[in-house]
């Protein structure tokens, strides 16, 4: 009976450790949708989001929504090339690389670009993504920098 109890404890602890390990290995951290102001060409609300998702995938999303009072309102389509996003990757406070800017190729309300920019050596490392967002301005015929978002650290 005593050995059975000890065995149950060992199994329980092992399960907890496995659950914690799984949480660390497969988790996503996001900046949430950040209000970057009105899109200069269509007037919709432009929002940006920086995400680090398993495993160590640095992702940046640009999106247009309407009405203008919240980034969680319904998506409102932007024309091809009107949304730009770039993701930069950091690991343990060091700079890994960037995806560079990418732009939507078709009409869409949400456009994202992502890449595993940092290597992931053995052991827990803290990663995060910094996203940058551009919009096409039809009056000046050039891209306008709209702002940035930063994900929290996520360890893998």
């Amino acid at each position: 009976m005593r050995y059975r109890m000890q065995g149950a404890w060992v199994v329980a602890i092992a399960l907890i450790i496995m659950a914690l390990a799984a949480t660390a290995a497969y988790a996503t951290a996001t900046s949430g949708r950040q209000n970057l102001g009105q899109h200069p060409s269509n007037g919709f609300l432009l929002c940006g989001e920086a995400v680090i998702r398993d495993v160590a995938d640095n992702v940046a999303y640009s999106m247009t929504v309407f009405p203008l009072n919240s980034c969680w309102n319904s998506g409102a389509n932007s024309q091809s090339g009107w949304l730009g996003a770039r993701a930069d990757g950091f690991r343990e406070g060091a700079y890994c690389s960037t995806t560079g800017y990418a732009y939507n190729s078709g009409q869409t309300w949400l456009f994202g670009v992502g890449s595993v920019l940092c290597s992931n050596p053995v052991g827990l490392q803290a990663f995060h993504t910094k996203s940058y967002h551009r919009a096409w301005d039809v009056t000046t015929s050039q891209y306008v920098y709209m702002g940035t978002a930063t994900s929290p650290n996520q360890s893998y």
Partner: protein, 149 residues
């Protein structure tokens, strides 16, 4: 009989001494000014800092506390090893609120010698290696045309 003392010609050494005193004084003052102008700013400059961005330098609004960010930030190569340093202003301008350099960024060592570039989608490319010789990392793109807004 009166004798008149006529000043004889001065010895060359005496002439030089008489003229050099004020001249040397002026030269010394000029030298002091030059030394002050060129060395004081250098002495007052704090040495450049190199390192990683401390975790607590990132602020909740996504910007960084630039007083805690080193002048040059560690840049990792594609194996994850430190390759050198990139200038903080190139990747986190305006305390992390501005737009970073859109293109290759110089990577230097602690003596500020160029050792390579951080190239978008390629990462660190050592000096002397053509950018195109380093294959780009795979990039995924998401477009959601689900709305009719």
């Amino acid at each position: 009989m009166t004798s008149t003392k006529v000043a004889g010609p001065l010895a060359p050494g005496a002439i030089l001494t008489r003229h050099w005193r004020p001249l040397s004084l002026i030269l010394m003052v000029c030298a002091a000014i030059v030394v002050t102008v060129f060395t004081l700013p250098a002495l007052s400059k704090t040495p450049l800092s190199f390192g990683r961005i401390p975790a607590d330098a990132w602020l909740e609004d996504g910007s960084v506390d630039s007083s805690r960010v080193p002048d040059y930030i560690v840049a990792l190569d594609r194996n994850g090893d430190p390759a050198g340093y990139v200038r903080a202003e190139a990747i986190l301008p305006d305390s992390g609120r501005g737009e970073p350099v859109d293109g290759p960024i110089p990577v230097v060592d602690e003596r500020l010698n160029l050792v390579g570039h951080m190239v978008p989608r390629r990462g660190f490319v050592p000096l002397g290696t053509p950018f195109d010789d380093i294959p780009p990392v795979p990039t995924s793109v998401v477009e959601d045309p689900a709305t009719d807004g």
